[in-house]
């Protein structure tokens, strides 16, 4: 019914707020006595205050993702917002509370190993998390509070830090829709959601409160979840040009996980579930999989803006706890006892840090010039353990990792954005990252040939990385720029792989790209080619349930992306990305792009379309603003081990909402076509049937992607600033 109304919508509603504008306190719009007298667009008042536009892009793939405009395309998490960027594919093998793995530009960036995540300048990648070095869980971010996402695909900006191998992501928070929203939702598979958003109408978008409560049974056995998140921000202007921004976050979750299952067991109907195809496809072996997580953090930023200088200082701290239990191999590794291969990974860390930057602007020969210096100081103090669990009862029976870690990352950079000529710009700089590792290994043997010894051992190491980055842009015509970039990025070393006194090695990426970028208002188009080479790449090892080093790798590819905004009714963006990734043989050079075997699982072709249509709908004489959004995704066949290739996957998501006075009804449907596909593929040996002779030849496994799921919401909007969704 609602969809029908949305599809029948015929009248334009106001466009979304421009991201480079700021909504100022405005009196709630008075409904016109006669809507027809005001034209097709319901009136409202939005005061747009001049705000400094974001800095010029440092690369052709320096993207400002318009999360606000495309918020109606169903995306259930802040991580899902990354699919607004060309070529990004997400996959999750561990359940609702587990961070998604990100595939980008030929990288299997894991859950953060190759992608730097930041929230308001605060680094989110978790150092030496036993599940994956750099694991970044953005599930604590309430997606409705994400105002914008800046994504740089590649290490081209000197401000990009540790883990910026494939690129970096920075979330900016803000509540664009002022007032208060109380929203409840019910959906498929027992999903229930409650969302509270509040932002005083007379305060800037950085002042807000958001609370999100979610629970559900999940789309199959062992997929139940529950989570709660709260975020609060205060943006206070101390004086003209000087503002203080405080941000607090609190989050906890508990979730079950169906884990990964063997494809041949599904095909043969051997899974321990009902015999139907769907029952088998969504089945699970080990009910002990899942986890809990919590994150509580605080950040304070002081910003000063003037004509000639910008100064930013941020202090942040957070407490993080994570426990994951997963069983990839069943009963294969604990031979001959066969107690079970499940691994429990725990991580607890306290993080504190400082970040700051100073930008100086000058005009030289009538050309604007900028110099920037910045720094990061981050300290992580925590513990990590990995234990093996019995299949029956889940009791731990062996400890394979038990360490406390203290890691300090001090970084500084200097950069310049120079306008050499009216049409030619050069930007770049040098970043230096230093790391100091202090580890207490508590899992050493208590007996050696020399006699008894203590089970603990202290280890220390340090490392220093130099990361030059440079870009050049040339304005071919008004709105048309050619940009070429080159940069070096690093991923620090997992402390679990360090030796005492070692000069810690880094994984280093050399990346280059060039492209044409066209911008005209909110319309834009880009065509980009890229090349990268990583000297110490990592891939997921199912036996260890974590990423391990595999040697050098190289990637190359291209993308085409565009966005069309028809003011008043349509926003459309689409992209097509091609990427190839190869495991480089020994001696291969930077430009030996296709040397070596392809890296499996990395999508070669990805196409994505997001579209949002705004209309007003006549219902019983009332004109109701409504929006309809569609997201379509196509992932070409992924290379699989042994020369195989997966089937292409096409998915569509549909969302919409309609408002009547203070009430708003919404509906979102994900995987509208109800496609059955693999969220992630794996290839390894496993044994889940203890009665059968164990097969040790690697076999295809997969994590099932969600089927079609719907969520209906009803919101009560207090003090609405606008008439339209």
């Amino acid at each position: 019914m609602l969809l029908g109304l949305l599809l029948l919508a015929a009248t334009a509603i106001p466009p979304g707020l421009d991201l480079v504008t700021e909504t100022e306190p405005a009196a709630p719009a008075a409904a016109p006595a006669d809507p027809s007298s005001t034209g097709d667009v319901p009136t409202f008042e939005t005061k747009v205050k001049a705000k400094r536009p974001p800095p010029a892009p440092v690369a052709a793939s320096d993207l400002l993702l318009d999360a606000a405009t495309f918020r109606d395309v169903p995306r259930r998490s802040a991580g899902d917002l990354l699919t607004l960027a060309p070529g990004v594919v997400l996959g999750n093998h561990q359940g609702e509370g587990h961070a998604s793995a990100v595939y980008l530009r030929g990288f299997d960036a894991g859950e953060g190993q190759d992608l730097e995540f930041r929230l308001e300048g605060v680094p989110l990648n978790e150092v030496s998390n036993p599940h994956g070095h750099g694991y970044a869980d953005t599930n604590f971010i309430i997606p409705e509070l994400v105002e914008s996402v800046r994504m740089v695909e590649g290490p081209f900006d000197p401000s990009q830090g540790d883990f910026a191998v494939a690129g970096s992501v920075e979330y900016r928070l803000g509540l664009v829709e002022r007032g208060a929203r109380v929203q409840g939702g019910m959906g498929s598979y027992g999903a229930n959601e409650l969302l509270l958003l509040w932002g005083p109408a007379d305060a800037p978008s950085g002042t807000f409160v958001g609370v999100s409560l979610r629970r559900g049974d999940g789309f199959g056995p062992n997929r139940a979840y529950a989570g709660a998140a709260a975020m609060a921000g205060l943006e206070h202007r101390l004086s003209p040009g000087v503002s203080l921004r405080l941000t607090g976050t609190s989050y906890a979750t508990r979730f079950d996980s169906a884990g990964v299952i063997r494809a041949d067991d599904v095909d043969a109907g051997r899974m321990p579930c009902a015999s139907g195809a769907d029952s088998q496809f969504f089945c699970s072996y080990d009910p002990g999989q899942g986890g809990e997580g919590a994150r509580h953090g605080f950040a304070a930023s002081l910003g000063s803006r003037s004509q000639r200088q910008d100064l930013d200082q941020t202090i942040f701290l957070s407490i993080r706890r994570l426990r994951l239990a997963e069983n990839f191999t069943g009963f294969l590794q604990d031979d001959p006892e066969q107690r079970g291969d499940a691994r429990e990974q725990t991580y607890r860390v306290f993080t504190v840090g400082l970040r700051g930057s100073l930008v100086e602007r000058r005009v030289v020969e009538e050309l604007p010039q900028e110099l920037e210096i910045g720094y990061l100081a981050r300290y992580d103090d925590g513990d990590a353990t990995v234990r093996r669990l019995r299949r029956d009862g889940g009791a731990p029976y062996a400890t394979t990792l038990d360490e406390s870690l203290r890691v300090t990352n001090l970084a500084a950079y200097a950069a310049a954005r120079l306008r050499v000529a009216e049409r030619l710009g050069v930007s770049g700089g040098l970043r230096v990252d230093s790391f100091f590792f202090d580890v207490t290994d508590r899992n050493r043997p208590t007996e050696t040939r020399a006699g008894p010894r203590e089970p603990t051992e202290e280890q220390g190491a340090d490392g220093l990385a130099f990361e030059p980055r440079i870009s050049a842009s040339y304005m071919l015509a008004e709105g048309f720029d050619w940009i070429a970039s080159w940069g070096v990025g690093v991923r620090s070393t997992d402390v679990a792989a360090l030796s005492d006194g070692e000069f810690a090695p880094f994984a280093t990426v050399h990346a280059a790209e060039t492209g044409l970028v066209h911008r005209s208002g909110r319309n834009e188009a880009r065509l980009v080619g890229f090349v990268t080479r990583v000297d110490r790449d990592m891939v997921f090892d199912e036996r260890q349930a974590r990423n391990v080093y595999v040697g050098a790798s190289s990637r190359h590819g291209a993308l085409a992306a565009g966005r069309i905004a028809l003011p008043g009714w349509l926003d459309l963006q689409g992209s097509l990305t091609w990427a190839e990734a190869h495991l480089s043989p020994a001696g291969a050079g930077f430009f030996d792009l296709a040397a070596g075997p392809s890296l499996p699982y990395v999508p070669s072709w990805v196409a994505r379309v997001d579209a949002v249509v705004g209309r007003t709908v006549d219902v019983a004489g009332a004109r109701l603003p409504a929006r309809l959004a569609l997201g379509a995704n196509w992932i070409g066949g992924r290379p699989l081990p042994l020369g195989a290739r997966s089937d292409p996957v096409t998915t569509m998501d549909l969302g919409g909402r309609i408002r009547w006075e203070s009430l708003e009804a919404g509906l979102s449907v994900t995987n509208l076509l109800d496609a059955r596909y693999h969220a992630m593929d794996f290839h390894y040996a496993s044994r889940f049937d203890m009665s059968a002779t164990p097969s040790r030849v690697a076999a295809p496994h997969f994590a099932a992607a969600p089927p079609r799921m719907a969520m209906a919401t009803l919101a009560w909007i207090l003090d609405p600033q606008e008439d339209a969704p």
């Binding site: 091609w578 075997p597 070409g636 699989l640 081990p641 020369g643 290739r645 030849v697």
Partner: protein, 255 residues
Amino acid sequence: MRSLACAVALALTACGGAADTAGREVGFRLAAESMPSGDRPPGSFVTRTGWTVTLEEAAVAIGPVYLLSEPPPSARRHRAWEWLVQRAWAHSGFDDFDGGEVRGEYLGRFVIDAVRAGPQPISMSRGVAGRVRSVTLELQPPASASPSLHGHQAWVRGVAVRGEETIPFEGGLDLPEAGTVRKVVGIATDVDLDDGVMVVIELHPERWLSEADFSALPKPSGGDERRTMEPGTQPWDAWYLGARAYGTFTFRGER
């Protein structure tokens, strides 16, 4: 135009063709063969204790079998200096032998007739192309009763002659399901696994009884002259060890 054609070709390759990822699936045959000792027929050999043995019946159940990519530590000393300065192992070197990637496997059970000449086909199997540097096999009981085994995991019946002493004997061997007793881990080999290759398990039955002293078998109390190899007798104990000795099984590949 040529660039466009290349792009289209690349697209077609990436969308629908095979991927050039590492590894290739292959089909190979698995067979077993009882190897002759010198110019004698299979099952006829001379032991280190001086007995000339002629087996009339001999069989053993084998399986599963795993073909592995990594050599055992004993096969790694291929450099001169490693012979001179050997690596110190904190354990036997085999306890934790993993073998690396499993390139092929046979998960069933089969019975080798140890007195039959020539390869005995076992199965067609799928595997991953590449060098097989070691094999791990297990001596598990057969899935179903086999007449040639007389209810045991292995069976022998024959005659041992030393000088003027002739001892007919027979007996069955059963290995307990404890620890790694039923496993033969890390048998060194070097076979290129590829489509059409036949991997042959070579059984050397002379290794079973090479340390057996048949005179230690107790004489039967009845009128039957055939002596029985039973647990606790020296020949049986020698067989218990010899059945899993590293020289008992070797492997070869042939097309």
